[in-house]
Symmetry: C2
Subunit: 331 residues, 2 copies
């Protein structure tokens, strides 16, 4: 069957099509397929440019139908000040995995945010203590919002602390998320105090210097380290990472652009120190949490597997609902 054209989807159209629940299920399945050897390792490519750079992530995934997706994301930290543009911008090309036909072109923002939050939720489901009630969110932007939404789906949270360098951001986050999720969300300035009371901590800031130390964390905490997805980014002190159980999304990718990268560079641990890739835990090849006292860090660099999984959902729903603009690019 020859496709009729390429579907182009805007951010708002994508937001209306991609729910967090189905994205969490799809992301879990993507990590499962990868761990079962049913899909090839994804690829990444980075090109620095001035004070920022471009990052390509690409992968194949068979979600009942074979898909390929390639995401081009630009990351320019000074964008808002210089151009009034977002820090991150990008486009995903979704192709049929068997014929290569370009099925869809999509703005990447919504998919990047939701699939990243979905991985945090899936990791919490397998690695956080069952009875986790309190979470701290470091970084109160869009990624922080989706992270907390994913956590309440994975664990019976009743309280959350919101921490951000911009206190106003944290306050707004607390008001909005309290209302939306029906749990108590409180803006805090004392990060150590908040984390010390928490069962779960998510770091999702653009930080280039570690701000979370071993002394902040009580035994048994699950930490999702989400912000570091480039070799110059870091949120977690390397000694905190190298003193606790580490689970990664993809070992090689984390070794080059994740929190793991810094601990390796300092010679604190080797790649063999890493307990597992998330998929290995999902399929049961490796054990998850061994005790309630164990602190576990999930190094989340964000994988193209997640991108394909989420993009495929959006595409299939858009086709069904008739959303977006169809253009025959080859014509």
């Amino acid at each position: 069957m020859r496709p009729e054209g390429t579907l182009v989807l805007k951010r708002s159209e994508i937001a209306a099509l991609l729910g967090l629940d189905e994205c969490m299920a799809a992301v879990e399945q993507a990590f499962r397929l990868y761990a079962e050897g049913k899909t090839a390792p994804p690829g990444i490519l980075g090109l620095p440019a001035g004070d920022g750079g471009f990052h390509l992530k690409a992968a194949l995934l068979d979600t009942g139908r074979p898909y390929f997706a390639a995401k081009t994301n630009a990351n320019f930290p000074a964008n808002m000040k210089r151009f009034g543009l977002p820090l991150i911008q990008g486009v995903i090309v979704l192709c049929d995995g068997e014929s290569g036909y370009p099925l869809a072109l999509m703005d990447s923002m919504e998919i990047t945010i939701i699939r990243t939050g979905a991985a945090t939720g899936v990791a919490a489901k397998y690695l956080a203590r069952q009875e986790s009630r309190v979470a701290t969110i470091c970084g109160c932007g869009n990624q922080g919002r989706i992270s907390l939404k994913a956590l309440v789906r994975a664990r019976p949270l009743t309280h959350a602390y919101a921490w951000d360098i911009e206190q106003e951001q944290a306050r707004r986050f607390a008001v909005e998320l309290s209302e939306e999720l029906g749990i108590a969300v409180e803006a805090v300035q004392d990060l150590g105090g908040a984390v010390g009371f928490s069962d779960i901590c998510v770091t999702c800031t653009p930080s280039k210097r570690p701000f979370l130390q071993q002394q902040h964390v009580r035994p048994g905490t699950f930490i999702a380290a989400v912000g570091a997805d480039g070799e110059d980014k870091q949120e977690i002190d390397s000694e905190l990472l190298s003193s606790n159980k580490v689970v990664v999304d993809l070992l090689d990718q984390c070794a080059s652009i994740g929190e793991l990268h810094h601990a390796l560079a300092r010679g604190l641990i080797s790649k063999a120190y890493v307990h597992a890739e998330l998929g290995e835990i999902i399929v049961g090849k490796k054990a998850g949490r061994a005790s309630g006292d164990e602190t576990i860090i999930f190094d989340s660099t964000g994988t193209a597997l997640q991108d394909v999984a989420a993009t495929a959902i959006v595409y299939e729903r858009a086709v069904k609902s008739g959303a977006g603009t169809v253009l025959n690019l080859a014509a």
Copy 2:
């Protein structure tokens, strides 16, 4: 200045905007900037899929304005038989190199064909004998057509031989190109005979087995080896390559996916054997042709530098002329 949206361009719109003359000038300039160290090395990423695969090429280039382009091309040899779809399909994402804003999304076919032909023309300008009159084109598809068009711009050709496994293709090519270019183009079955009478030979087939040997080639010939752009593709016998002067588009890329790859794999030569990258000859860092007797092989794998250069022309012309469809993807 905030852009108004992302410009989406179809193949036919691109074909109407991109001329070979300006593309040759832009490609020459791109190789020049690269050789002068004024742009970073491009990146490539390949993901095999079934009997085909996906190839990403990305680069930055400042052509008066800083641009970044990432091309996703799918290559599925059985596509026509299986799905009635072309062998190669793809999309180029063009971004502002300073802010990352996605300026345009374009079908990749026209740009790939024209920028590849442009490199053949530029290489002939620097490496073929001045008085070259006769050329053989191996592979009479779209790439063969643009190759001959580029050659007549670089050298005073009066005759061309057209060779293809499908003889009907060669015959049609001969009729069309004779008329269009006003030179004598003749379809041939005896490749050796044709090449033996030629000053220039372009190979642009999807072959996986070498068909051009040392014995076919007379001294002084310029050979543009265009077809091989993946590690399983080969048109030029490795002994032919390793016995003559070799110029590459990008050394590392040719070492992994070009004709050079096969000669290296067989241990016939090392990377140090390669005389120059094309850009080094353009800027005069390395000498071009040393004598009329020298056979020179240009290993053309196709670079993202060419993609950015060509895509930038299309974008700027489309903006001026109002071509294409503008969509605000971030909305």
